[in-house]
């Protein structure tokens, strides 16, 4: 069986996997990181979104072996102890969730947007969420939360450095 070595939430990890093992299976089943959800398993819903080398990807549509030598960040890697990441805090503050199933993917996707387009306006946030489906909220509060979360991430710029290294290890 292939052996894969990678970094997950800043920690070096090695695991024995099958060729067909998906990254999301490695995270959930081997590492117990069940914050990353599987909503569809058909590459549509984005509940499984994680960061690989700093970019959001669908972990149900990537083999674990493809992540070899990469730095992976999951929803569990964002908070600093009990202090939530500013984007998580914004989702709480703006009621950006109902059942919470889509939320880990939404937050991971939103942080990627914040890093790469901190100027994003409402339309761009909505476009960015093309790959993240929510069956509860109607998206409105998610968009509000993301706009606020982006501002908070920018506002925290000096601390943002540490928020950044917490958020994604690349």
């Amino acid at each position: 069986m292939p052996r894969v070595a990678l970094t997950v939430n800043g920690k070096a990890v090695t695991a024995e996997v099958e060729g067909r093992t998906l990254l999301v299976q490695l995270l959930r089943e081997n590492l117990g990181l069940t914050g990353t959800h599987v909503g569809c398993d058909t590459s549509q819903c984005g509940a499984c979104t994680v960061h690989v080398n700093g970019r959001s990807v669908k972990s149900c549509t990537m083999l674990a072996v493809q992540a070899a030598s990469s730095a992976v960040t999951t929803i569990e890697g964002l908070a600093n102890g009990t202090e939530l990441h500013p984007m998580q805090e914004a989702f709480r503050e703006h009621h950006g969730l109902q059942c919470g199933f889509c939320t880990p993917g939404m937050v991971m996707s939103a942080i990627d947007l914040a890093r790469h387009n901190p100027e994003a306006d409402e339309t761009q946030v909505r476009e960015w969420l093309e790959g993240n489906l929510c069956r509860c909220t109607g998206y409105h509060n998610i968009v509000k939360a993301i706009l606020a979360g982006i501002k908070a991430m920018l506002g925290n710029a000096p601390r943002g450095k540490s928020a950044k290294s917490r958020g994604t290890s690349s």
């Binding site: 060729g19 549509t61 083999l63 947007l113 790959g131």
Partner: protein
């Protein structure tokens, strides 16, 4: 998903050796955004999956001056270049903004972070976006064995000129004077219900249509009319026959035929 042997060769030569040794059915893996869903559905059951990711020199974007009588500029895009990299490339935005916009319109951000140009054209989905660019932008598809004219690359429904074991290494897109891509996205999948790319090279105009037929095709009547007068009005009255176009739960053939006319006009207008 059935299990398979996973290999990650470091060179094209090593990949070719693996193909030879791989039995009847090795497949290449690039971004996995088509292959992994197909493996999950057991549409494909390869014994060996050959990941191209570790092969150097298969990604990146550069420009190249043509040689001899063909002095035109081309933009060379490596096969493993992701849709996001093409969409964000300063060079592509400066030379062929229509190509950057096309890449930006593929799927969603997470698909664009993984999916690649080579994977898209090798797969030849009838509703994929890149085939329209390969045809309209006079592209040349470079493989580990030869170079294939874009016009001869797509052979039909999910079918290309690639031989078993042949690897796309890059695509050379010719830089047009003007070009624009207009897509009517199927609202659930984001693939093209119909996509039309219009490109002008001096006196020549190319109109390529994806999503509407079994494979990408050109519309010679539109090309002739636009070569005479490059304006949306020049397309008035030109009808595309719905015969041989796709009909499915998303749209009937006559609707697709109608969309080709609408999108072609919009593309010409967007060319400015």
């Amino acid at each position: 998903m059935h299990d398979f042997k996973y290999a990650r060769p470091a060179s094209l030569a090593a990949a070719a050796t693996l193909v030879k040794k791989g039995g009847a059915d090795p497949v290449f893996l690039a971004g996995g955004q088509t292959l992994i869903p197909a493996l999950k559905m057991r549409l494909r059951k390869p014994s060996t999956v050959i990941d191209l990711a570790a092969i150097k020199g298969l990604d990146g974007i550069a420009e190249k001056k043509g040689k001899g009588k063909d002095k035109g500029l081309t933009v060379v895009v490596g096969a493993l270049t992701t849709h996001a990299a093409v969409a964000g490339s300063k060079l592509v935005k400066a030379r062929i903004p229509a190509l950057a916009a096309l890449a930006e319109g593929i799927g969603d951000p997470q698909v664009r972070h993984r999916g690649t140009l080579g994977g898209s054209i090798a797969n030849a989905d009838p509703a994929a976006d890149y085939p329209a660019a390969v045809i309209a932008l006079h592209a040349e598809v470079v493989t580990n064995k030869r170079s294939i004219s874009g016009d001869a690359f797509f052979k039909g429904f999910f079918e290309t000129a690639l031989k078993p074991g042949e690897i796309v290494t890059a695509v050379n897109f010719r830089v047009p004077d003007k070009a624009a891509y207009m897509k009517f996205a199927q609202p659930a999948s984001r693939f093209a219900l119909v996509g039309v790319l219009v490109a002008k090279f001096g006196a020549e105009v190319r109109v390529a249509v994806t999503g509407a037929g079994a494979s990408v095709f050109r519309v010679p009547d539109m090309e002739k009319a636009l070569a005479k007068s490059f304006s949306a009005a020049a397309l008035d009255g030109i009808k595309v026959s719905p015969k041989d176009l796709n009909s499915d739960i998303h749209a009937a053939a006559d609707y697709r035929a109608h969309l080709i006319g609408v999108l072609a006009k919009r593309a010409v207008e967007a060319c400015g």
